[in-house]
Subunit: 141 residues, 2 copies
C-alpha cells in the first residue's frame, strides 16, 4: 500500500489510537498544523476509498473509522520503495546516514544494539531466542 505524506500522518492517528472520528483526527492534527476540517476529511475519504481505512461504527451522526492496513505492512512497502529510489537499492548508505552525527537518540541506539545482539545470537548458537526477543521488545535496561 502506497500512501502520501499527509495520508501517512492521518494513518498514524488510527494506528496509535484505534477507531477515531474525522473531527478527532482534525483536532489532533490542527494542534500541530493549521489545516481545516475539510482537508482532513477529504484525506480520510481518500484513505477509505483506497482501502486503508473503513467505517467501524457510528455515534449519532459521527462516523468512526479504523485502520484496515497494518503499520508494518505499509512501512515495509514504503521502505522498499524508499531504498530502491533514494539509495539505488543499497542499504549501506542508509545505515550510514542513520548512524552518523548522533542522528540516533540514546534509546534508538540501545534498541539497535539489542537488535544486533539478538541477530548475532540467532546466527551463532541459535538458542535462547525467546529470551532475546523478550529482552528487545521490553526495551528495559
Amino acid at each position: 500500500m502506497r500512501l502520501s505524506d499527509f495520508e501517512l500522518d492521518v494513518m498514524q492517528r488510527f494506528w496509535r489510537e484505534g477507531a477515531c472520528s474525522a473531527p478527532e483526527v482534525h483536532q489532533a492534527i490542527a494542534h500541530a498544523r493549521d489545516v481545516t476540517y475539510s482537508t482532513v476529511k477529504t484525506v480520510i475519504d481518500r484513505l477509505e476509498r483506497k482501502g486503508a481505512l473503513k467505517r467501524s461504527r457510528q455515534e449519532g451522526r459521527t462516523i468512526l473509522y479504523e485502520a484496515v492496513v497494518s503499520p508494518d505492512a505499509v512501512q515495509q512497502t514504503m521502505l522498499e520503495r524508499f531504498v530502491a529510489h533514494v539509495f539505488a537499492g543499497d542499504r549501506r548508505p542508509l545505515l550510514n546516514h542513520l548512524l552518523k552525527d548522533e542522528q540516533l537518540t540514546v534509546e534508538e541506539y540501545r534498541y539497535l544494539e539489542r537488535l544486533l545482539a539478538r541477530h548475532r545470537s540467532r546466527h551463532t548458537s541459535g538458542v535462547a531466542e525467546v529470551a532475546e526477543v523478550a529482552e528487545v521488545e521490553s526495551g528495559d535496561d
Copy 2:
C-alpha cells in the same frame, strides 16, 4: 531538496557516472524499464529547473548534464521526511524493519557492525578514530 521517485532514478545515473547526456540516461533506464526518450528528457528538464542538474557542456548538439546536488544532501533530506511521516519520527521501528528477516545482505550487515564498532569507540575512548574510519570506509574484511 525533494525529488520524486523517477527523478531520483535519474539522479542516480548522474551521481554514479558524472556528466551524462539525455540519450545516455534514457538508454540506461530503458534497459530496465520501458520508457520513451521524451519521458526521460522531460524529467531531466524538470531536474534542471529545480536546480538539481545543470548543463555542463555540449558535444555537437548533445547536451551533457551533471548533478548540482550531492547524494548525501538529498538522501539526508529524504530520510528525514521519510522517518517523520512513515514512522512518526521514531527510528526504532525503522531499525526493526531493516534488521528483521534477513533483510540485510551479508555486506550490509558487516558494514553495520563496523559502523557500530566505530560509534562505540568514539563514545568510550575517543581515540583511534582515524583507523576506525579507514577500516569502515575500505569495506574489506
